[in-house]
Assembly symmetry: none
Homo-oligomer: 397 residues x 2
């Protein structure tokens, strides 16, 4: 349902704490990481609130970071898209404009016969890569179109074309394997023919400029994308929204939704201080905790448990700010058994004075399963938060 017509003003404050990749699964040896973590403060929240499980995108679907966050913010992840290029640009605070075409680039090693020898150029160091990217920015010139190269990390580069008549429907040049030459950029629609030619020209110029490099002598491009206008979170829900995140991508997603991205915190303590300082001036706060996902991606069960416990420890400080509604969940699961994102539903706890109670008093997948929120699409949670915040009018007479 479109919530915007039902939005009513209120003084309430909403706090969302997202533990990236929070969800996991039990197996014959272990409970999930969350089930085994010692989380007295989250358990108290579960006891005083309602719990449940959420499918971030859909049953069986393993979400990337974009769709997982969109669902949490109440945007249907099947209807709104955040492409690789747009996410990279957002993460670098590079403001894409309407008509721009952006792609994720990899510096790569090409063999003498022109085939790809290493798709990541030996994970070239940041300093070296930055110098190479600067040379590309200075050296590549395209006909009638501006081109921007921005270094991300290691071998990763954002490439943006800006000018009239561009179309992002161009196939990757990254063959996704070694021993074969880069792909020719193919237009998927006739309108993208010129863009594909420009991409080919760009790739040729890069190879010529980097011919003398021992490792990073080529560039592979993938995920051509354009700027997509997302409806403003603030307008949609009548909220002054703020994000407190460390990592560029999550800051970028929040910025794409029009949230205020606060400060430059570098750890959870600084995130809390940033949040506290901004408390009076906003209604909705999105706190992003990355370390759960990084640990899960590394298959490091103990570190994921520790990252959960680290977050648990700041919950009393967060509650001391007196938010009216608190939601703690993840954007997707990252079970340490799989060392990757997964499709498993994500545990959710919601607290407010009026949320009701269930019989669940521990925060963890197997208990949330019996919680008052049930098993739901993630995108449902935004409306439930707003309702608890007194910000949704009655529907119908």
């Amino acid at each position: 349902m479109d919530l915007t017509p039902l939005i009513q003003p209120a003084d309430s404050k909403l706090l969302v704490v997202l533990m990236d990749g929070l969800g996991g699964y039990a197996d014959a040896e272990h409970g999930s990481e969350l089930e085994e973590a010692t989380t007295p403060n989250l358990d108290l929240l579960a006891h005083e609130g309602v719990t449940g499980l959420a499918d971030p995108v859909g049953p069986g679907i393993t979400p990337g970071s974009g769709p997982g966050h969109l669902g949490l913010f109440g945007y249907d992840p099947e209807a709104f898209e955040l492409g690789r290029g747009a996410l990279s640009a957002a993460g670098l605070e590079f403001e894409l404009r309407a008509g721009d075409v952006a792609a994720r680039g990899n510096l790569c090693t090409l063999a003498a016969d022109g085939t790809v020898a290493d798709r990541r150029a030996g994970r070239v160091a940041d300093d070296e890569a930055r110098g190479i990217v600067d040379r590309l920015q200075d050296g590549v010139r395209l006909d009638g179109v501006e081109v921007f190269f921005r270094h991300e990390r290691e071998h990763r580069v954002l490439v943006v074309l800006r000018g009239p008549g561009l179309d992002p429907a161009v196939g990757d040049t990254d063959p996704q394997r070694t021993g074969v030459p880069p792909l020719a950029p193919e237009p998927a629609v006739p309108e993208a023919k010129r863009t594909a030619e420009l991409v080919q020209d760009l790739s040729d110029q890069v190879s010529a400029l980097l011919a003398g490099e021992p490792r990073a002598n080529g560039l592979l491009l993938r995920g051509f994308d354009t700027h997509r206008e997302l409806p403003s979170f603030g307008d949609r829900y009548g909220l002054r929204a703020a994000a407190v995140a460390i990592y560029p991508m999550y800051r970028g997603i929040a910025r794409l939704l029009g949230m205020d991205v606060l400060g430059r915190p570098s750890d959870l303590g600084e995130q809390f201080a940033t949040l506290r300082d901004a408390w009076a001036d906003h209604d909705y706060f999105f706190v992003h905790h990355k370390r759960t996902d990084s640990a899960g991606e590394d298959g490091d069960r103990a570190r994921k448990i520790a990252a959960i416990e680290e977050l648990d420890a700041v919950v009393p400080d967060l509650r001391a700010l007196s938010p009216d509604v608190i939601l703690v969940t993840g954007d997707h699961s990252t079970p340490s058994q799989l060392a990757a994102h997964s499709w498993h539903p994500v545990p959710v706890v919601l607290w407010s004075e009026r949320c009701g109670r269930d019989d669940v008093d521990r925060f963890g997948e197997r208990w949330c399963l019996r919680g008052g929120l049930g098993l739901r699409p993630m995108k449902h949670l935004m409306a439930i938060m707003l309702a608890n915040a007194g910000r949704l009018q009655k529907y119908g007479a």
Copy 2:
């Protein structure tokens, strides 16, 4: 969500065991048939896997065999249709072609005044009916159109028209009650006018040919339908799929989806042997167990419990084949209290190495209700199986 763009290859094998009409309901006297059956092997699967309940089509909807199976195979039963004529043809291994019009026919008894005296011609015996159907095939001639009569069982006959310009939008001639004459076939759209006239001509010729028959002296037609192209299951999911079923209709449904329909097994033991022989050459196996439904339809509670226990006994053999993902469920409920299909949700158990665990260790409706899969539309299960089989890529960047 359209899963096809997310499909990635894998070596995993998926096994679906469908107990037809598995679901039931508890009442003041009894648990459901599944709850009361002794099923140590299915219970172990529930213990090691996750359980849930599925709505085959939608809440409160009692599915026919077509929609129940479509949901299980991940086809939205509201978007894809398997008409009576198409199902009959599939069950008889009669290959409908584009443009054919098929209907289910009943041999009936017409009284001297032309009204229907018995809609099933006293459930005429197969031998007698077959002879009559042969006479119809030899005797009926239509203008510019081929006609095929195929005997199914007892009074049931498949009728197919083949030729240019046919349209299935023709109303039934079966009045669904006795004491009234057969209905004139009415075109629902102008394009079906000629088809309706051909159907009237056919009915008249049948009555003339069978005028001397004591019982089966007429033919009532219903469910005019045409060949519908269903997207191939194999293409949709990147699976080499095989069906091991005894009954023609289920073999037919699998064939309509492009599955390989294996062997001609006549009992569960032969089904298992067929499955084992084909194991190396396929990725997805659909095993259909009919006896649960037949017993439920007969209102025979004890026989339905026995049919469930019969299936339970082969589970260890099935697991010994080392499938990566196992799903056991039904296509709909057939509670013996109702002696008919019903709308009650169907119990589901899913097992894989990475499916997670819930606290459920018995397979039955009241326990599945608290399982990790929750209560879901049946069509969700296909994506969850594919995810567990490592066959779905991440969605979005």
